[in-house]
Symmetry: C2
Subunit: 74 residues, 2 copies
């Protein structure tokens, strides 16, 4: 997976954490006050996620930002 | 330093790496194709840096993104 972009890895990591917590895409988007397709767009590199938004998503998933980003940096 | 934002820590880390490599703010901005005040604005939380831009800056400083972000996540 090392050849895919960090945005793609980040999108996958968020999706895995979301599913792990039993949130549908819609429920998580509503809770995180994001558009329903936002994470999908990040994953497909169609949206250029900011560090601040990544931090907000991490908080909404009850993980630290490093739990998300460190996974993507490996 | 744990109370300052991740953007502030990131700005400081980039500045330290830039100075360590002997780049002035102007020289680094030109090399990285960024506006001269961009990093300063990130550091002052006036600019919401994207993960992709953080990755580009890391490449221009010859470090991995984790060298920058992991420092900010501690």
């Amino acid at each position: 997976m090392s050849d895919c972009s960090i945005a793609e890895k980040l999108g996958r990591r968020v999706r895995a954490l979301r599913l792990d917590r039993g949130y549908s895409q819609e429920a998580f988007a509503e809770m995180a006050d994001l558009h329903r397709t936002y994470i999908g767009m990040v994953k497909r590199d169609e949206k250029n996620i900011t560090v601040r938004n990544a931090e907000k998503i991490a908080n909404d998933l009850n993980v630290s930002l490093s739990d998300i980003l460190v996974f993507c940096l490996s």
